[in-house]
Subunit: 328 residues, 2 copies
């Protein structure tokens, strides 16, 4: 029998989960839950119900794993613990500083209900975190570096859109090649914020807007841009649609470290992602962890877990013997 999945929240991530489920034959989408009026939400999968979020309670016997696709700021801190009382849950909570308290809240709820909750799944946190852990365990005397991009930062794009005279904008975070090369050389460079990433902005301004002022407001914006080398391009709405409508992202996790009787040998471990669609890749990782949540649940596990706590074999539909034969 297929693992029965619910999608809770139907934005970019929810749509990505819906697509990913179609690539995993052992999973079945049962329902999509939305805060909007369900009849206004059109989904891709024929024959699957769209329900109001309030109907989740009634679906407890028909869904094994609920995948939470809301935002980390206000949705997930409330939703993940609440839904862990009813289902195994997986979320992509990505406010790094608040992970410990989110973990505790989900752990308490999931332990009480006997369910499994897996939080902070995706690529960062997620696959990048795993690579930091594995690389650090293999090379205890070393240094970690994480670079993001080239990719679209939603937060930075939004910040530009709030500037007066801006109609629309897209911001790309770009790792600095020279910094990547310095890290790969094993030189253990101390890199400033400015040395690690560039920011490139494509801005659609209102007719007659003061572009010099807009550019200056962007480049001097505290936290978002002031600490970076930022370039601003003014383009037409048509150009933005044509050339910048995707949501690509990616990045690099690099650890360099030393071994040997006198630490005379250098090693470089590098993991990188180049993603055409940030939400679809995040969704694909989440779906693999939904499989793990279900399996752990059938083994009697409960409580909150992260990618660190889950043996890799749980992610694959293949058996242990198949994995050893094909992939080891």
């Amino acid at each position: 029998m297929a693992i029965r999945i619910g999608i809770y929240g139907y934005g970019n991530l929810g749509r990505g989960v819906e697509c990913a489920l179609r690539q995993n034959a052992d999973m079945e989408l049962v329902a999509v839950f939305t805060r909007r009026a369900p009849e206004t939400v059109k989904i891709l999968t024929p024959g699957v119900q769209v329900l109001h979020v309030d109907a989740a309670l009634e679906m407890q016997d028909r869904i094994d794993v609920m995948i939470l696709c809301g935002g980390s700021a206000t949705d997930l801190p409330v939703q993940t613990p609440a839904l862990a009382k009813l289902f195994h849950v997986v979320d992509s909570f990505d406010t790094h500083a608040k992970i410990p308290e989110h973990f505790e809240a989900v752990d308490a709820a999931a332990k009480a209900s006997g369910k499994v909750g897996i939080i902070s799944v995706g690529w960062d946190p997620g696959m990048f975190s795993l690579n930091r852990l594995y690389a650090g365990a293999a090379l205890p005397d070393g240094n970690d570096y994480t670079f993001w991009g080239k990719g679209v930062s939603q937060g930075h794009s939004d910040a530009i859109r709030r500037i007066e005279g801006v109609l629309d904008a897209k911001q790309y975070t770009i790792p600095v090649d020279a910094a990547l090369e310095a890290v790969r050389s094993g030189a253990n460079p101390a890199l400033s914020t400015r040395e690690k990433h560039l920011r490139e902005c494509f801005v659609v301004a209102e007719e007659g807007a003061d572009k010099a002022r807009i550019e200056n407001e962007i480049k001097t914006m505290p936290n978002y841009f002031a600490d970076y080398d930022t370039t601003v391009h003014f383009i037409s709405k048509e150009e933005l649609m044509r050339d910048h409508s995707g949501i690509p992202h990616g990045g690099f996790v690099i650890r360099t470290g030393k071994t040997g009787a006198n630490l005379e040998h250098n090693h470089v471990i590098e993991y990188s992602l180049k993603l055409d669609s940030n939400p679809e890749f995040t969704a694909s990782v989440i779906v693999a962890y939904a499989r793990a949540a279900y399996r752990l649940g059938t083994e009697g596990a409960s409580g909150c877990k992260t990618v660190f706590d889950i043996a890799p074999a749980y992610l694959s539909p293949k058996s242990g013997a198949e994995l050893r034969k094909a992939l080891l």
Copy 2:
């Protein structure tokens, strides 16, 4: 109390384990076991016993995890099951085709003794295997590629040394840049053996040896060289010592795959290693898994496991809360 470790076999890998243990404060080397006369074996760590392999039985109460550092051809198939009757064990068994039967043998022994045996630990099998699994779980519609090098192949170097007139030799396996680029492009190329790797040989010939014949014998050697573009350089013994005495290695695991409603988005996941010392890095990974073996053992686990079966958190000396805070 530190985890008490024994090293069984003291070649390059055993020395690498000895060095790695010094980088992990929660581990303590108790003894090195050798088939040679123990008094002829000098180790790096002051105050640590060198014992004959026959003395392992008497050390059962003083060692938690025995790390096996023998070869996959004849040593490990016998040693790992035998020692799993006495200790938690970790090995680097790397004969891919025989992993299933090795797993069964170690599993039976370790289940009978209540010990944990972790086999096939290192980078391939090991970290590369993990990356194949994780990437395949995230991108089910995709293709895997593994490239090795640039690095020294011991087996190929040995094969050259067996040719008449050859005094010494080192062989480097080198991935072909064009093949790597084709894979990264997402083109899913079908690559022949020749298209994936080059072989470069540095040979010290006997005085007066027929170099043309040696070069021809290398380049036409079935299995080892005939299917590759091979270059042969004749150098002096001094040059070989000066420029080719290291044991570097590394490689790339790349998965490209598609997501989206119409599989319209491409993704590239790439993991790479650049290692100054193949045995020391392998040893460093093994030591992290020795920690996992011990911890799993204290939790009551037994039987044979691979890297696929072990949650990443077991590899790190940090607590779950520390890991979530620092690395997630």
